[in-house]
Amino acid sequence: MALPATLSTDIKKIREEFPVLSQKVNGRDLVYFDNAATSQKPRQVIQALVDYYQTTNANIHRGIHTLAERATKAYEETREAARAFINAESAEEIIFVRGVTEAINLVASSYSRAFLKEGDEVIISALEHHSNIVPWQLACEQQKATLRIIPVTDKGEIDLEAYGKLLSERTRIVAVNHASNTLGTVNPIAEITRMAHAHGAVVLIDGAQAGAHLDIDVKAIDCDFYCLSAHKMYGPTGTGILYGKRKLLDAMPPYQGGGEMIKDVTFEKTTYNELPYKFEAGTPNIADVIAYREAFRFILGIGREAIRAHEHDLLVYATEKLGSMPSVRLVGTAPEKVGVVSFVVEGIHPFDIGQMLDARGIAVRTGHHCTQPLMERYEIEGTVRASFAVYNTRDEIDQLAEGLQRVINFVK
């Protein structure tokens, strides 16, 4: 697939928006390929944080003074931007959380308490991050329910046939990711959701690896919950969203108690606030939420289609380049992938490769990527993972391949 001419020239400009990228690491230009862990931040996001603290800082929703109103307005504007970004029905369906981990914990705790009973089943896939495994283990233990695992194929795809067999009248919740952090596989979440709904189960989608890379339309997917982390999509750390269908969020008990989430408090009985505030106890992460809006703007400003095309070009290029090296074995070769290339090199520990690449200024991730069960599935200890963002280039992939070849030559 050819790179759209307009975007290839724009990448230079896009890179200039990321101050962190212009530095040298160990004497060489930084090559940042750890985007699946966290992406770098464009100037407009950083500036929004600075502006907030310099001009606006106030607690939201309760204050009646000018700064409080300004902060509240900016905070609620991000909620509306998030709604539009994922095409939710209403802004009340957007709950601000610390990130995907908290979003999943919220649902696993609150929804399970109300709707998961003894003998019920929760289904997740073998492709999940620990943050989409452990909360469900806790919930199942608490409610005496059973956790079922959809196997993955050799290529790293969710086995839909096996999934179909796991679904039953006992299934209450299905939780899978939109895209895999370790392998990059894009999962058929609309189909997974349709199959779950046919059995009366609700569906949660972990969108951590989709936010910066894929189109997200919760109405088209028809999922019941969808989670995003801001920091993996050019936004600040410490914030993210949980989308939930209103009727489900209304029916769920509060997750945490405190200020902001209540209507009236007496020692006899407390009544809870309306959505979304029912789930936002205490003073939230106001600054980061406000700056998160700029991350949505940044992505939409370039255009999700253009981003996808550019990252797909990088994925194809890296897959060919690294895949053709004799001792390199790619892990995860699904036809539908985001820009993630995971690999192992015969006879060389991923950690050594990571250290060696770092010495050349190239940042990759090594290890199990918080997906130990998946590593077990492939009978490996870990992989080296290069994950791409809109600011990466083919030239950087060449540098990765060169560094990799050097370590292979040395060891072999």
Binding site: D352, D358, A359
Partner: protein, 150 residues
């Protein structure tokens, strides 16, 4: 029996620091050199690569055993990663043939001096500390054994 006095721990550290100074502060050269040192480490018997010989706290797997010959301590080690193995080989170069007291009293400053902690990373540095701690534990055990025996 080995009665000759080995060079002091401080002198060996100085020698390592001088070796690394030849690499012109080139991060890649340093990593390659450390890996090369690891390749030269005498092999550890497979039977010693057991669960109980794993050094806890290291991110990569490290096995360590020690023995006392006369009043001197000798370590054998291996790791599943080349860089760790190289770093471990440096510790063995420093400690092998020393008396338990000298190991216990040692102050290892060479890691900072060769600029290793700068790119080995925090987790690995912790692992390295665990390795040193374990070696000192062995030295303490041998010291105690010698005192009881005498």
């Amino acid at each position: 029996m080995n009665d000759e006095t080995p060079r002091s721990i401080a002198a060996i550290q100085d020698e390592i620091i001088a070796d690394f100074a030849l690499l012109d502060d080139d991060a890649e050269m340093k990593v390659l050199y450390v890996m090369e040192l690891g390749q030269k480490l005498p092999p550890m018997p497979e039977k010693d690569k057991s669960e109980e010989n794993i050094v806890k706290g290291c991110q990569s797997r490290v096995w360590l055993t020690a023995r006392l010959e006369s009043d001197r301590v000798y370590f054998t080690a291996d790791s599943n990663t080349a860089i760790t193995k190289g770093l471990v080989s440096l510790l063995i170069r420093i400690f092998n043939g020393q008396k338990p007291d000298a190991i216990l009293a040692s102050d290892l400053h060479f890691m900072n001096a060769i600029g290793m902690e700068r790119f080995i990373g925090t987790q690995r540095s912790n692992g390295f500390s665990a390795m040193i701690r374990q070696m000192k534990m062995y030295a303490l055990a041998f010291k105690t054994k010698m005192e009881i025996g005498s």
